[in-house]
């Protein structure tokens, strides 16, 4: 019997607890000691330049990348000890990627129901009903029988979010989900994330959308070269950054007209 995640264990502890996380790709150290605690229902935005380690951090939490050292606790359980069933962990932690990664050979409905049916052994009718309900909630009901390449980028990314939600995860990790979108399509995806936040979903969001981070985040973490330089509520971090490196990054964002 391999340990998975029990919902009961989450009570009273952090949803995500990370201690001294290091991750190297060969000689290249991408994460250099990350410490982060995320409470249940908290929304954290990770900001920082490309290559600062935001995506790698999210992929480590989802166990898509083996870590070099440190500890990751999800819902009160250490998932970095040997013998943890990664599949059980991933069913509780949804991740959405920058490039959508929908399955091109399946309709929207099948994209959403695949994991519930195959991984959770949910009866097909129940999975269809759940998927239809979620698609309706995010304005995609009329797309259920379309193939992904017939959808706009914004629609594809919303489907990708619905696909992750269909596993009814306790935590959502969003990896620059609007970075690959045309500017006019960004808003519809951000609205979906706002709705999730309002519904109390625990989220860790890597993003370049500073205005959105200011709106939706309980705390914003600024990463540079694999460490969290500064973490604070958005009002504080954006208007009164303490660290020189944070100030420099935000200045560049303002100069680029992105805030």
């Amino acid at each position: 019997m391999r340990p998975g995640l029990e919902a009961g264990q989450a009570a009273g502890s952090d949803a995500i607890g990370i201690e001294g996380l290091h991750k190297s790709f060969g000689p290249n150290e991408v994460l250099r000691g990350i410490d982060l605690a995320v409470a249940a229902h908290e929304v954290i935005c990770l900001i920082g330049a490309s290559g600062s380690g935001k995506s790698t951090l999210l992929r480590c939490i989802n166990l898509l990348e083996p870590i070099s050292s440190g500890r990751i606790c999800l819902l009160g359980q250490d998932v970095t000890v040997p013998g943890v069933d990664a599949n059980l962990v991933r069913r509780q932690v949804g991740i959405v990627f920058q490039s959508f990664n929908l399955f091109p050979h399946m309709t929207v409905l099948r994209n959403v129901t695949l994991a519930p049916v195959k991984a959770l052994r949910m009866p097909r009718a129940d999975a269809d009903a759940l998927a239809t309900e979620l698609l309706e909630r995010f304005g995609l009901a009329d797309k259920r029988n379309e193939y992904p390449d017939r959808l706009s980028g914004g629609q594809q990314q919303r489907v990708a979010i619905v696909r992750a939600l269909a596993m009814q995860p306790q935590i959502m990790l969003l990896d620059e989900v609007t970075s690959a979108l045309d500017p006019e399509l960004v808003a519809e995806v951000l609205d979906v994330i706002r709705e999730l936040a309002a519904g109390g979903m625990t989220m860790l969001i890597a993003t370049h959308e500073m205005g959105f981070a200011r709106d939706v985040a309980n705390r914003v973490c600024f990463l540079e070269e694999g460490t969290i330089i500064e973490a604070a509520p958005p009002a504080e971090l954006f208007s009164d950054p303490k660290d020189e490196r944070t100030r420099r990054f935000l200045r560049r964002i303002v100069e680029a007209g992105r805030m």
């Binding site: 991933r90 990627f97 929908l102 399955f103 409905l109 695949l114 390449d149 596993m167």
Partner: protein, 314 residues
């Protein structure tokens, strides 16, 4: 090159020399749907031009055949209607078999080999693509297998299996028919090629698809079966069916073991009656088998493309 180039730039000649102008040939391709550029010369004029061009070429070929100095002898030896019919229906009393009946053995061998090849080749491809250290010896073994059977001529494999295995005088294994050994040889040889086709197909599926599937909590096997393999197979249907068209023909090599398949039946007829028309019959039968498969391949590809463009569910 001639000035009325209907197909647009650049003027392309398909190399039939003086029989037809380059423009006519390009126009004729326009009506067979080779692509939007060539099609744009289309309409009724293209149909007329292509029909005319086809007739001219055919007439020229028939004329050359008919006027050749040895034409009469060749027609008698290879295309004699009476001999073709006799070899097709066969006559056991005169000592030769029906080529028409013998082709069934080719079809059965082909079907059996195809199923086994698809399974064995996939297994080899998956072993070669595995990453676990435990699998290392099997990876090496699979690589040696593929190198070996791609390098050795199929005919030699047929001989080795068909003559070598019976000589071992093992119980059961050494007591099979020539057709069984033939199928075994075809499977061994073709699996090496087809496993490489699979491997190319699996590699063509982007790694992010694996990440997406695994991130949803799907196991490795489930991700492979429902996400990776369907996309890989879709990408390799044309080369795969190409290999199978080739396999259909290569069932004829089993003749060397004495199995009475179409090629062997034709050989026996020609050796009995001293007329090669039986081989023409076998050739026609093989064509009847392979051409539908080729057209079916085209249709599969086209249907898949259209369905995905139209976005209609299955």
């Amino acid at each position: 090159m001639n000035s009325e180039d209907v197909a647009g730039d650049p003027p392309v000649s398909y190399g039939t020399g003086s029989l037809s102008t380059g423009a006519q040939i390009a126009g004729s391709f326009g009506s067979t749907g080779r692509g939007p550029r060539l099609l744009s010369g289309g309409g009724r004029r293209a149909v007329v031009v292509s029909t005319a061009s086809t007739l001219v070429v055919l007439a020229a070929l028939v004329l050359i055949f008919w006027l050749a100095p040895g034409s009469a002898a060749v027609r008698h030896t290879f295309f004699d209607p009476a001999d073709m019919w006799q070899s097709f229906i066969g006559d056991p009393k005169k000592g030769y078999y029906s080529v028409g009946a013998a082709i069934w053995l080719n079809i059965r061998m082909f079907l059996a080999a195809e199923v086994l090849i698809l399974a064995l080749a996939l297994a080899i491809a998956l072993v070669r693509m595995s990453t676990s250290p435990v699998m290392f010896p099997f990876r090496v073994l699979a690589m040696v297998y593929v190198d070996f059977f791609r390098g050795v001529p199929l005919l030699l494999v047929v001989f080795a299996i068909g003559l070598g295995v019976p000589a071992l005088r093992l119980p059961f294994v050494s007591a099979q028919s020539a057709a069984i050994y033939g199928v075994a040889a075809l499977v061994l040889s073709y699996s090496a090629y087809v496993s490489e086709v699979y491997r190319a197909g699996l590699n063509s599926v982007h790694r992010s698809q694996v990440a997406a599937a695994r991130s949803l909590g799907l196991s490795n096997g489930t991700a492979l079966r429902y996400v990776i393999l369907p996309q890989a197979v879709r990408n390799i249907v044309p080369p795969l069916l190409n290999d199978f068209i080739s396999l259909q023909k290569d069932t004829a090599l089993v003749a060397v073991l004495g199995a009475i398949e179409a090629n062997e039946a034709a050989q026996i007829y020609s050796a009995t009656v001293f007329n090669f028309s039986s081989f023409t019959v076998a050739a026609i039968l093989f064509l009847i088998l392979t051409i539908p498969l080729a057209r079916f391949t085209d249709r599969l590809i086209e249907r898949d493309r259209r369905r995905r463009l139209a976005g209609v569910g299955p």
